[in-house]
């Protein structure tokens, strides 16, 4: 990697945030006009326990430089127990990623409540720094990505099929 | 460095944030020395809030704080006023602002250590009273002290007095060095 590339490189990080705690915390960071790097794209999910490991692997396969899974504090889950499962999966996921040649430091789980706007800002900032230091991920599966191409016809047919349900 | 920068720097070094203080007055209320102070600990924090570094550096408070830490202990926001006062005092000394009586005592004290390695109370009190122009202070205790042989008249330096002098000299040089690096 050349020096210029290193300095201008902006990683893209995907964050799965639960609707009740972290997504609310992220909104609060906005309300408080806190500033953080623009590297993170948030996907809203009802609960961190909804995050299928498949989503994380897919993000890395498509070229994500980092992935975060964020939920309520253990014990405070809106759905009582969802984030306990997230926590267990997280440990396993790190091993799976390592096995697949993805630096486990690209994957982070954080517990951020709806009132912890500053914690959200700090977490995002920190992960962005860590991932930036690692450089671009070398895991993009190009063949899949190119074959993916969401043709509108495909969408249409699936919609019609599902719409009929 | 401008004044605001200096103030911020002193507060940072003492790990004190002026916005933490909401002026409840619990510190000055419990400060044993407050009655003799001009600003008192709350006044010090108030001055810091409005950026009045000058009034802090020229206050008697920074010289009268006895470092008992009762204020921090009771502060609802854990504002470490004595630590900030200590930093302010160093800054005052750097600018040559001193309280005469404190300066005389502290210099005499350190000269004492330089000479003997330990503090020699008789000489300390004697020299202090002479230089501070207070010949009668505590004089009434003198006969008792002498008659009960509480104060040895002949000073007796420790063996490592040279070592002590070297340490003090190095420490003072380090202090200057640190200050220069910061600026």
């Amino acid at each position: 990697m050349g020096i210029n590339e290193a300095t201008t490189y902006e990683p893209k990080i995907l964050a799965f945030c639960c609707n009740w705690c972290t997504y609310t915390g992220a909104d609060l960071a906005g309300l408080n006009r806190m500033k953080y790097p623009a590297n993170v794209r948030v996907v809203r999910v009802p609960c961190s326990g909804r995050v299928n490991p498949q989503f994380i692997l897919r993000a890395f396969a498509r070229g994500a430089d980092g992935v975060m899974v964020c939920g309520c504090h253990p014990g405070d889950c809106h759905y009582t127990t969802g984030n306990y499962f997230t926590r267990r999966r997280f440990m396993l996921m790190k091993k799976v990623l390592e096995f697949n040649g993805i630096e486990p430091q690209r994957f982070h789980a954080r517990w951020i409540s709806g009132s912890e706007a500053a914690k959200f800002r700090d977490a995002v900032t920190e992960v962005a720094q860590v991932v930036k230091a690692l450089g671009p991920a070398a895991t993009k599966v190009t063949t899949q990505a190119s074959s993916k191409a969401p043709a509108s016809a495909d969408i249409e047919s699936s919609v019609q099929k599902e719409g009929a349900l | 460095m401008n004044e605001n920068h200096t103030l911020e720097h002193l507060m940072k070094k003492a790990d004190v944030r002026s916005y933490d203080c909401y002026q409840c007055g619990k510190c000055s209320g419990g400060c044993p020395m407050a009655e003799g102070m001009d600003l008192g600990p709350r006044g010090i924090m108030r001055s810091a809030q409005i950026g009045a570094l000058d009034s802090i550096l020229n206050s008697s408070t920074i010289w009268l704080c006895s470092g008992c830490y009762a204020c921090v202990d009771r502060c609802p926001h854990d504002v470490n006023v004595p630590a900030f006062i200590e930093e302010a005092r160093y800054e005052a000394m750097r600018r040559g602002i001193v309280r005469r009586d404190s300066e005389v005592l502290n210099r005499t004290f350190l000269a004492n250590i330089r000479a003997f390695g330990r503090s020699h109370e008789m000489l300390l009190a004697a020299f202090y009273n002479i230089f501070a122009l207070k010949p009668t202070q505590d004089l009434t205790s003198l006969p008792h002290m002498i008659s009960k042989k509480l104060i040895p008249i002949k000073p007796d330096p420790i063996r490592g007095v040279g070592d002590v002098q070297a340490i003090i000299a190095r420490a003072e040089r380090l202090d200057k060095l640190v200050k220069e690096v910061r600026e």
Binding site: - | G67, Y69, N106, R118, I151, A171, D175
Partner: protein, 322 residues
């Protein structure tokens, strides 16, 4: 046998004569070996750190580093609150603040790792095994002797350095004093600063706070104030004539020439004797007044001891102990 590296402090060589003698007696009697740190120097007290941060850390660190070199397995102990505060702070700073540790090592010119603890006498005397030894070493008990235990601010604060849990109404000293039969009173100035540090350079400001401590102890019905520090001890008893005179002046409105304090002594009920905790323990353990040089006290202590030790009148006590 418990062993500690011992930092006596400058006062031990002069004004704290009787306390030093009592320390030796008590620690000998309960079987604690205090090994004096070889060629220790002054901790710098209030003045050194007032003038320079690094000098204020380097002076106590010199003694501590010598203790660490000569007695690598021993914790350091001192009987003076002021020394304790400086030694403990140097120890704490070296442990927690990398910059400070670097400065200290550069100033000393040799390493100091701060791996051993710094303790004060109260820490040691409060150990359960030591308390048991004290109980067996006590030969005679005081009766109805009311004591006000004065801990001194620097033995207790700052909490983050000393780790003291109860900073407003500590009980460690009260619990030791009880062993001698003395009755501790509940009073309000256990950990209030006595102003010793500024008695020279800010006399006008500090005198009232010392007087307030004495008055509160007297109002609580104490016969004697117990201290855990020779500086507090000296400061609390040294100017009692002056305070008594000022109270009198306030009452009558008549001024008296200050130097007359040398000859005109106040009534005993206007003053309160001040003993160090180890002096009280030593007396209970059978030490005589002469052996402890109790006559060095500015406020005579004989009467109080006589009153406290049952079965003796003041004259007998004076002959036997002083």
């Amino acid at each position: 046998m418990l062993r500690y590296a011992y930092f006596p402090g400058c006062a031990s060589e002069s004004t704290a004569k009787s306390t030093t003698l009592a320390n030796e007696f008590v620690f000998g009697a309960v079987g604690i070996d205090l090994v004096e740190i070889e060629d220790w120097c002054c901790c710098g007290a209030t003045s050194a750190h007032t003038l320079s941060e690094t000098v204020g850390l380097a002076l106590p660190a010199r003694a501590l580093s010598r203790a660490e070199r000569d007695h690598p397995d021993l914790d350091v102990v001192t009987g003076c609150a002021s020394c304790y505060a400086r030694l403990k702070l140097a120890n704490y700073k070296v442990r927690t603040d990398k910059d400070a540790a670097w400065l200290v090592e550069k100033a000393l010119g040799r390493p100091y790792t701060a791996k051993n603890e710094v303790l004060n006498f109260l820490d040691i005397l409060s150990l359960d095994e030591v308390k048991a030894s004290i109980e067996t070493a006590i030969l005679r008990k005081f009766k109805d002797l009311k004591v006000a235990c004065y801990y001194g601010c620097l033995n207790i604060r700052p909490a983050e350095v000393t780790g003291a849990k109860d900073r407003e109404n500590p009980m460690a000293m009260d619990e030791i004093a009880v062993l001698t039969g003395a009755v501790p009173v509940d009073w309000g100035f256990k950990t209030e600063c006595c102003g010793a540090a500024h008695q020279n350079d800010a006399a006008r400001q500090t005198r009232p706070l010392t007087a307030r401590i004495l008055e509160n102890a007297m109002a609580a019905g104490a016969d004697v104030i117990l201290t855990a520090c020779p500086m507090c001890q000296l400061n609390l008893e040294m100017r009692q004539t002056e305070y008594a005179r000022k109270r009198e002046e306030k009452k009558t409105g008549k001024k008296v020439f200050p130097l007359l304090d040398m000859v005109i002594k106040p009534e005993p009920q206007e003053t309160i004797p001040v003993l160090s905790l180890t002096e009280l323990l030593a007396i209970a353990m059978g030490a005589g007044g002469r052996r402890l040089s109790l006559d060095v006290h500015h406020v005579p202590v004989g009467g109080v001891i006589a009153q406290g030790l049952s079965g003796m009148n003041e004259k007998e006590v004076r002959e036997a102990f002083i």
